[in-house]
Amino acid sequence: MITFMRVDDRIIHGQIITRWSKEYPCDGIIAVNDKAATTPVLAQSFKASTDKKVFVWTKEHFKEVQDKVLNSDKKYFLITKNPVDMKEILVDMDFKPGIKKLIIGPCNDRPGAVKLGQNQSITQEEADALEAISKKGYDIEFALVKESSIGEWPKFRSKFGY
């Protein structure tokens, strides 16, 4: 089962995982990212960053095993690098994680991105993905760590034409 969903442009960050796993039960991490899953040194680096069990999968592989994830008794964090990949999982694949909350963590400043908070910048493409996830019934909160939440998607969507 999935107990926590997060977008983090560093994908897996040891200290942050340790922090969030005090808020939500966590037996392991499922990171979905095509580049990391197909670059062994990246996958190994993520696995070394935490003492939790870590899976680094392509979106294609996640699609194949999604039912196995849901039917497992183990409690997993689901993490993607960006909102667009999360939208593919939650909207396009219609994956039903059984929870409604999605936390947006670090998203670096990039050209064309709108800065919502410290280290939280969103491009129009990502905003479109978040809007689609929101329409699907998910609550999207921007928080690097639990204590530093800057608000939920409805507060920011007007910056992107919604």
Partner: protein, 142 residues
């Protein structure tokens, strides 16, 4: 040629590099770059790629990083992987001053990176220590 390349968050790698320079002198085979606040990981990777562009496949790299699996660590490895340099790279996380000085001063005494590794880890670990002041009661005991 063997290079020592330091990477970190913030000013740690450039700072450590400048501290090491005070002990070893400025050398062309010691390099650094770091991920600054509000810099994207891609920008860091680009800077790192530029930093190591003249390092050739038959060179060796001792990569020192501030923290295991942090973004600087991961992105530096990713670039070295693209360059096909990983087999010639010794990667150590949790860098500190004793480790970095030893790396710079001792690297050319070792042909085998594996042997150098043991020395560096041992110096780095020994450098992290508590200093406990002990009252010396025998001070006047001539």
């Amino acid at each position: 040629m063997k290079y020592v390349v330091m990477v970190s968050h913030g000013e740690f790698a450039p700072g450590l590099h400048s501290a090491v320079n005070m002990m070893t002198g400025d050398r062309p085979d010691v390099l650094d770059t770091s991920l600054k606040a509000d810099m994207s990981a891609d920008e860091f990777a680009e800077n790192f790629r530029e930093l190591v562009k003249d390092i050739k496949k038959d060179d060796q790299i001792i990569l020192l990083a501030d923290i295991l699996s942090g973004s600087p660590f991961t992105n530096a490895l990713s670039v070295l992987d693209e360059k096909g340099m990983l087999p010639n790279t010794l990667v150590i996380a949790g860098m500190n001053m004793p480790l970095a000085i030893t790396a710079v001063l001792m690297k050319d005494n070792f042909d085998d990176l594996n042997l150098l590794k043991d020395t560096l880890l041992s110096e780095g670990r020994a450098g992290l220590t508590e200093f406990a002041a002990v009252a010396d009661e025998d001070e006047d005991d001539l």
